[in-house]
Point group: C2
Chain length 430, copies 2
């Protein structure tokens, strides 16, 4: 077997953890004489430490950011400036280089044979978007030569080079995407995402205690269940895996249990109507009352928001009366204020006397399953379950494999439990 394993920042977050990773790499290689390519993130906190150090450099501050390890994501200072983003990528890509060399060193010390690949050595070619680069091609000759020599190839995640040889980085969670892309390039049998949870669950186990670990899930389902998966792996990497037919296996780095396989949909999967339910608290609702119901109104609104980089999720337009209509949609909560400001400056709305109402106290619940395509009545069953709990549904949107509803935020957890029960997700599929 040819196996790709990706270890995140927590898994390489200490010297003891690095040695444990090295040990697991040795064992994985030994089981059945496998070929192994490992992708590592920066040690937990290291990327933020480097960004914080750069921020303080520009602020006129002092320190190397040693105290920052473990803090939440630090925002870069001068996003949008190409020179800055180039240097930021050159800077923060060192974190994964350190991890890769350390893991390779630990494997060699244990008597294994490993070689680290960083920066240009990976052959991972990207476009020129320095801190949010897209992979364009992978030259895998060098990786193949290492396989031929029987070496474990330890790759620095998150980084590539652009056509000029500048270091680029793939954005937050980019090491997952590195792993999937490398798995596709070397035609790996599986890309294992080693993390600190046991796999992907039918829903968030902290809210629904009888949530069940999924044995398998289709790529599409995983993408729709982003809010479950985001803690486990970057959704972009799943899109990549779907595109290139890479089988992902999300499992714990702390034990050898089987985790969750994220695979291409097959007929067998359709027998399960609902795979999982997810709760997203980070949305907010905007209602525009009495919009002029003439051609171009709605497109102007959403072009304005889109042009400002605000992603609109669910959209509902009510039936028109007196050539007026209400438009309701959701945006990320963090963008709500900016969305409101932009809309209040639109003459189209202000001239018409449109009221712009915003509501942060909502949440979105999504029911996902590829089996919905062939089974009717999923939405009806969901609505019934919510009605039984007296939960009012504010918005609904459906796709082929998803039903999403917006409810008042305080009912979110109750709604999630009700739906998990209604679709009997705690029971393993027959």
């Amino acid at each position: 077997m040819r196996i790709v394993q990706k270890y995140g920042g927590t898994s390489v977050g200490s010297l003891a953890r690095i040695r444990a990773v090295a040990q697991r790499c040795m064992e994985t290689k030994a089981e059945g004489d496998n070929e192994l390519l490992v992708v590592v993130s920066a040690m937990a906190g290291e990327t933020d430490r480097l960004i914080a150090m750069a921020n303080r450099l520009l602020d006129g501050g002092e320190g190397r950011g040693d105290s920052l390890a473990g803090q939440a994501w630090v925002a870069p200072k001068r996003s949008g400036n190409a020179s800055y983003e180039r240097e930021l990528s050159q800077l923060i890509s060192t974190g994964e280089k350190v991890s890769a060399a350390m893991v390779a060193m630990a494997i060699n010390e244990m008597g294994g044979q490993a070689v680290s690949m960083v920066g240009h050595q990976l052959g991972l070619r990207t476009d020129r978007r320095f801190t949010n680069a897209r992979i364009q091609a992978i030259e895998s000759e060098r990786l193949e030569r290492a396989f031929e020599r029987g070496q474990i190839v330890v790759c620095a995640g998150f980084q590539g080079i652009d056509p000029e040889g500048n270091i680029t980085t793939l954005g937050r969670g980019g090491s997952d995407t590195s792993a999937v892309a490398l798995a596709a390039a070397v035609k790996a049998d599986v890309c294992e995402i080693l993390t600190d949870v046991d796999g992907v669950f039918t829903t968030d186990p902290r809210i629904v205690p009888n949530a069940r670990k999924l044995r398998r899930i289709a790529h599409e389902e995983m993408i729709e269940l982003a809010s479950l998966g985001a803690k486990v792996l970057q959704i972009r990497s799943v899109e990549f895996a779907m595109k290139y037919g890479v089988a992902l296996h999300v499992r714990s780095s702390l034990n050898r249990n089987e985790g969750t396989w994220i695979v291409a949909e097959d007929r067998d999967m359709e027998s399960v109507v609902v795979r999982g339910v997810a709760l997203d608290r980070n949305e907010a609702k905007v209602t525009l009352t009495d919009c002029p119901d003439v051609p171009g109104t709605v497109s102007t609104i959403f072009q304005t928001l889109g042009g400002a980089g605000i992603v609109v999720d669910m959209i509902i337009q009510n039936a028109s009366r007196n050539e007026r209509t209400d438009v309701t949609f959701t945006v990320p909560e963090s963008e709500l204020e900016r969305a409101g400001e932009l809309l209040r400056e639109l003459p189209l709305l202000t001239n018409a006397g449109t009221e712009i109402l915003t509501d942060r106290d909502i949440c979105k619940i999504s029911i996902v399953g590829v089996g919905m395509r062939t089974h009717a009545g999923v939405a009806a069953k969901a609505f019934a379950a919510l009605a039984e709990e007296d939960i009012n549904i504010q918005m609904v949107s459906t796709s082929e494999i998803k039903v999403s509803v917006v409810v008042e935020e305080r009912y979110g957890e109750l709604a999630l439990r009700a739906l998990h029960d209604a679709f009997v997700l705690d029971a393993a599929p027959k």
Copy 2:
């Protein structure tokens, strides 16, 4: 003018110092519309932090080495093992990458135009000796393109790539060598070594208060005065500068004063008989009494030591009596014990009943000047000066531009002052 500037670890050792470096780069570029290439070391303590972290990884320890900054040089754990040294180079080369990106970022923030070059981007090709690589060629097209765009090129020192694209490092002080090699490759008018002293002095000012800062010194003289220069710049870089005719200017990063130019010897320089005097306390003396005076004895002794990597400096063989002779030589004090052990295992000596005497309490004083070639009597004058102070000379060796004497260690500083006075080194040459 095309200028190369090299900033050491202390000069980029804090965010404030990095901003000061950026400021100086901007000013240097602006003065006379210069082209500027900057070479930076890792932030002070960073290389040792990384080595210490790797050591602890292999020892089974914990920690990232944060507490180590400022400590003296940390020895790598598994020197001599190629896989280890490859990974160590991949690891420790990240220190200079961080500095280069930070300096470039600071220059851009101040409104300048800078671009960092690290790893493969430098075009600095070396052999395959991972942690002690030798430069073989520099592909400077990329650097030239950056000059054409008017950019300040900020290069990560200490690193290159071997023919396979592995990262190599140039050994301790390697950033000096990077700077000289890059200066040679881009045909710079001068390579400035920015450091925390004002230049090279006629001798150690801490011992001889009236030591004088030299305005100029020949490459050869600087190499012979290694013990003065070692604190300022890597001697290997001076050899490189001599070979490729690069003019070096050692000056302070803290002020704009002229420092010391290290230049190719010219006729003018010969008018100065003695350029400087240096004291080396790190030598020890070995005396072999009653060695068999037959062909091959001496070569066996020094082949044994050389084969073990022990560098022998001064060698004296006394006149033979009864087919026996005394051999005396010096080795680095740190190697004295090992040298003794090796010699005590030599049948040639043990069979002959040779006594192996060792003495740590010595030091070496060297008088250096290219003018000696054309002036007689330097040694005689030196001996007279020492005799006047009742200092006994244990060993003497001379070269074209140097006279070295070994004296008892406790007389070392007195001897240095006596010689500095005898050759009136505190007075500027006419």
